[in-house]
C-alpha cells in the first residue's frame, strides 16, 4: 500500500469514527489572532520607547555623519571638508547658537563654523563628522567580525562537545584572561597604520570571546531539546541540525549580543585611539579627536566636548537598542500562570 492510500484509509477511518479532537479542535484553537514569533518580537521592540528613541537618534547621527561631508568620494552637503586648513576666526570658537533672543541670547544661528575650528583652522564640525564616520564604521565591522567568530566557535564547541569543546573553550579562556586593551594595543600598534578597516578586523579578532561563551551555552541547552532529538531520530546530519534547528533559535541571543558588542567596540576604539594605538593622523576618529585636544580642555573646551558628545550618544543609543532587543526577545513577558 502506498503512503497516499494508507493516508487516505486512515484519514477516513479517523473521521468516520468521529475522532473527537480532529478538525473541530483545529478550527477552534486557531480562532485567536495568531502571530509569528518575528511579528511578536518586532511589535515588542517597536513598543519599547527607550529603544525607539535611541534608534531614531542613532539613525539621525549616522545620516548626519555620512551625508554631511560625504563618504568614499561621494560629496556631502557641508561646505567645509575635514582636511583643508583655514584662517582661525575668534580663537576657533563655535558659531552655533541655540539660545533664543527672547531669553537674552543671540537667536538661532549656525554660523560659519558651528562646532568651531581646530588649531589649523579646519572646520571642527567636518572633523567631528569624519571621526564619527570612522568610529561607526569600526564599530559595525567589529560587530560583524566578532559575532561571526563568536558564533562559529561557540556553535562548534556547544554542538560537538568532547575534545572540540575543551580545546575551543580553553582557547577562549586564555583569550579572556589577557586584558583586551593590552592585546588590542599591541595589535593596533602593528596594524593601526593600515587603515581603519584593518584595525576594525583586528579588534573583532579580540572581542568575540564573550559571544562565543554565550552561544556555546545556548547550543548546549538547545541540543538537548526534544526537537533536536527528533531531527536526529529522523536521521538529520549535524550541519542540518546546526543550521536549520539550533541556529535559528539563537537569533535573539545573537542579535542582542552583537548589538552590545558594537557598543563595546566604540568604546574600545575610542580608548585605543586615545592611547595612540588606534586610528592615526591624517585620518581621524572620535577617540583621536578627544585625545588630541585633551590639553585644550581648559581653554577651548568645545574641542573636547563635541567628539565626546558623539561618543556618548552613539554608545548610549546602541546600548539602549540592545536593551530593547533583549526585552523584545524575552518570552517571559507574556507568561500567565493558570
Amino acid at each position: 500500500m502506498s503512503t497516499e492510500e494508507k493516508a487516505a484509509a486512515a484519514a477516513s477511518a479517523a473521521n468516520g469514527n468521529g475522532n473527537g479532537n480532529g478538525n473541530g479542535t483545529a478550527a477552534q484553537g486557531l480562532s485567536i489572532v495568531a502571530r509569528t514569533q518575528g511579528q511578536l518580537v518586532r511589535r515588542r521592540f517597536f513598543r519599547h520607547r527607550g529603544a525607539m528613541i535611541s534608534l531614531t537618534i542613532l539613525v539621525l547621527v549616522i545620516l548626519l555623519a555620512y551625508t554631511s561631508i560625504g563618504f568614499a568620494g561621494i560629496p556631502g552637503w557641508w561646505i567645509w571638508n575635514y582636511y583643508t586648513p583655514g584662517k582661525v576666526v575668534n580663537r576657533g570658537a563655535p558659531t552655533l547658537s541655540l539660545w533664543p533672543t527672547f531669553l537674552g541670547g543671540d537667536g538661532f544661528a549656525i554660523g560659519e563654523h558651528p562646532f568651531g575650528q581646530d588649531d589649523l583652522g579646519r572646520d571642527y564640525f567636518a572633523l567631528t563628522m569624519r571621526g564619527a564616520q570612522i568610529s561607526i564604521l569600526i564599530a559595525f565591522v567589529v560587530g560583524i567580525v566578532g559575532t561571526l567568530i563568536g558564533v562559529i566557535i561557540g556553535a562548534l564547541a556547544g554542538y560537538y562537545r568532547g575534545w572540540v569543546e575543551s580545546g575551543l573553550m580553553r582557547f577562549t579562556d586564555v583569550m579572556i584572561t589577557i586584558p583586551i586593551l593590552v592585546i588590542a594595543a599591541v595589535l593596533g600598534q602593528k596594524f593601526g597604520g593600515a587603515g581603519p578597516l584593518v584595525l576594525a578586523i583586528v579588534i573583532g579578532l579580540v572581542l568575540w570571546t564573550g559571544l562565543a561563551r554565550l552561544i556555546r551555552g545556548e547550543f548546549l541547552s538547545l541540543r538537548e531539546k526534544e526537537f533536536v532529538e527528533a531531527a536526529r531520530a529522523l536521521g538529520a546530519k549535524p550541519t542540518r541540525i546546526i543550521f536549520r534547528h539550533i541556529l535559528p533559535n539563537t537569533v535573539g541571543v545573537i542579535t542582542v549580543a552583537a548589538t552590545l558588542l558594537i557598543a563595546n567596540a566604540i568604546l574600545l576604539e575610542t580608548a585605543l585611539s586615545f592611547l595612540g594605538f588606534g586610528v592615526r593622523a591624517p585620518d581621524t576618529s572620535l577617540g583621536l579627536l578627544v585625545s588630541t585636544y585633551q590639553n585644550a580642555f581648559a581653554t577651548r573646551p568645545w574641542l573636547f566636548w563635541w567628539p565626546g558628545l558623539f561618543i556618548i550618544t552613539i554608545a548610549l543609543t546602541v546600548n539602549f537598542i540592545g536593551d530593547g532587543l533583549r526585552d523584545a526577545f524575552d518570552p517571559r513577558q507574556n507568561r500567565v500562570r493558570a
Binding site: 503512503t3 497516499e4 479517523a14 473521521n15 486557531l30 532529538e229 536521521g235 536549520r244
Partner: protein, 387 residues
C-alpha cells in the same frame, strides 16, 4: 520460546528485540579536564521484545530508565552494551549512514509537545523535513504532508502555521505526523499523552489506536500513567531502577501482579471514584527510589520491599516464567494480594520513623483498619469500579 534467544541475522523471532541492554552515563567531576569520576547505570540489562502490530507498554516511575531505554533503542544514545535488533539487523554496531536507513522504520514521538517541535519552523517544514532528509521529497511533497496532517486529524491548510499557534493536543498530533512521514513499522512513544489535559489525552490515545489499526504499527509505549497503559497495551513491562521486574500480557500483569513492586504500584494509583478510593487499602511503600549512582545489591527493590530477606540482598533474582510469558524477577513472588497488603502495612509501621513501638502499632492498626477492601483488590484489581 524465550525472550533471551539471540536472533541470527537471517531469521528473526521478533520485529524488535532488545537483549541485555545496558546504558551508562559518565559522571564528570569538576576541574579543567572534567575527569570521569563515576557512572550512572540508567538501564542495567534490559531484555524485551516487540512483535509487529502490537503495543508493549513500559511503565515505571521517574528515573527507572524507561525513556532511556526508548532512546537507546533508537540509538539516540549509544548503548554501553547489549544488543538491539530490528528485523534481525543489529543496530548497536551500525554506522551512522546505515542507521539513517533504519530510522525510516523506527520513529519516536516525544512527551513534551512544546519542546519537540522547532518553534522557528512552519508545520509543513517540520513534517516535510523527514522526506527531505531521506531524499523522498518530490513535487507532490506538500500533498503528502497534507495527507499526513489529515491522517492525524488536522487540516492541511494549517501547514504553513508555526507550532506556537496550536494547542498541546494539536502539537502532539503534529509530532505524530512527523514520525509517520517515513512510514515506520515501529513507533517509540515516550509519554505521548502525559503532558496533555485529561480531556485531550483521550483524543490522542484514540488516534494512536486508529493509526495502529490502519497502518499496522507496533508501539513501544512508555508511560507512567497506569490507566492509559492498561487501555492501550497488549503486553506490559514494569521497570524499576534500570531493570525490568515483571513482564506479561496486560491481563496477567494487571489482574495477577506477581512482583511486589508491581503490586504496590497498582495499589497506589488513584482512580476517579470516591467510594473505592476511600475504602481501598493501599500498599504504602516506604522511602524513595534509591539513587542509580549506587544501586542496592541483589534485588534493586529490596530496600523498599516488605518481603525482603537476606537472599534478596545477596542474589539478584532472575526472571522466572509464571506461565504464558509472564516473567517475574522476584525471589518471593506475590500470590495473595490481600495478605500482602496487611504485611506491607505492618512492615511500614515497623519502619515508622518515631521508633516508638506503640506508635508503630497504632499506625499499623490504622492501616489494616479497613482490610476488607484489600480483598477487593485481590478479586477485581485496582481500578475495579470505574466511573
Amino acid at each position: 520460546m524465550s525472550a533471551q534467544a539471540v536472533p541470527t541475522p537471517s531469521s528473526y523471532e521478533h520485529l524488535l528485540d532488545v537483549h541485555d541492554l545496558v546504558m551508562e552515563f559518565p559522571v564528570k567531576g569538576g576541574g579543567i579536564f572534567r575527569k570521569v569520576i563515576g557512572k550512572v547505570q540508567a538501564v542495567s540489562g534490559v531484555t524485551m521484545y516487540l512483535d509487529a502490530g502490537e503495543t508493549l507498554g513500559v511503565v515505571g516511575e521517574s528515573g527507572c530508565g524507561k525513556s532511556t531505554t526508548g532512546r537507546a533503542i533508537l540509538q539516540l544514545h549509544k548503548p554501553t552494551s547489549g544488543s538491539v535488533t530490528l528485523r534481525g539487523k543489529e543496530l548497536t554496531t551500525m554506522s551512522n549512514e546505515d542507521l539513517r536507513g533504519v530510522r525510516r522504520n523506527l520513529q519516536i514521538v516525544f512527551q513534551d509537545p512544546y519542546a519537540s517541535l522547532n518553534p522557528k519552523m512552519p508545520v509543513n517544514d517540520i513534517i516535510g523535513e523527514a522526506l527531505k532528509i531521506h531524499g523522498l521529497w518530490e513535487k507532490d511533497g506538500l500533498d503528502r504532508v497534507g495527507d499526513l496532517l489529515k491522517l492525524v486529524g488536522l487540516s492541511p491548510e494549517h501547514g504553513n502555521r508555526y507550532p506556537h499557534e496550536f494547542s498541546g493536543g494539536q502539537r502532539q498530533r503534529i509530532g505524530i505526523a512527523r514520525a509517520l512521514a517515513l512510514e515506520p513499522e515501529v513507533l517509540i512513544l515516550d509519554e505521548p499523552v502525559s503532558a496533555l489535559d485529561v480531556s485531550v489525552q483521550a483524543g490522542v490515545v484514540n488516534l494512536l489506536e486508529d493509526l495502529q489499526d490502519t497502518l499496522g504499527l507496533a508501539y513501544f509505549f512508555i508511560a507512567h500513567d497506569l490507566s492509559v497503559i492498561r487501555h492501550i497495551s497488549d503486553r506490559i513491562a514494569v521497570m524499576y531502577l534500570g531493570k525490568v521486574v515483571e513482564t506479561g500480557t496486560r491481563d496477567a500483569v494487571y489482574n495477577e501482579p506477581k512482583h511486589p513492586y508491581t503490586v504496590a504500584l497498582l495499589s497506589a494509583a488513584p482512580e476517579a471514584d470516591p467510594n473505592s478510593e476511600r475504602s481501598r487499602q493501599r500498599i504504602m511503600l516506604t522511602g524513595d527510589v534509591p539513587s542509580p549512582l549506587n544501586p542496592p545489591s541483589g534485588c534493586r527493590f529490596r530496600t523498599r520491599c516488605w518481603k525482603a530477606q537476606d537472599i534478596c540482598a545477596a542474589e539478584e533474582p532472575p526472571p522466572i516464567d509464571h506461565g504464558g510469558g509472564h516473567l517475574v524477577a522476584c525471589h518471593f513472588p506475590v500470590t495473595d494480594i490481600s495478605k500482602e497488603t496487611a504485611s506491607a502495612a505492618l512492615h511500614a509501621a515497623r519502619g515508622f520513623s518515631s521508633g516508638d513501638p506503640r506508635e508503630g502499632r497504632q499506625e499499623a492498626l490504622r492501616r489494616v483498619e479497613s482490610v476488607e477492601s484489600a480483598l477487593d483488590i485481590a478479586k477485581g484489581p485496582v481500578g475495579g469500579g470505574g466511573g
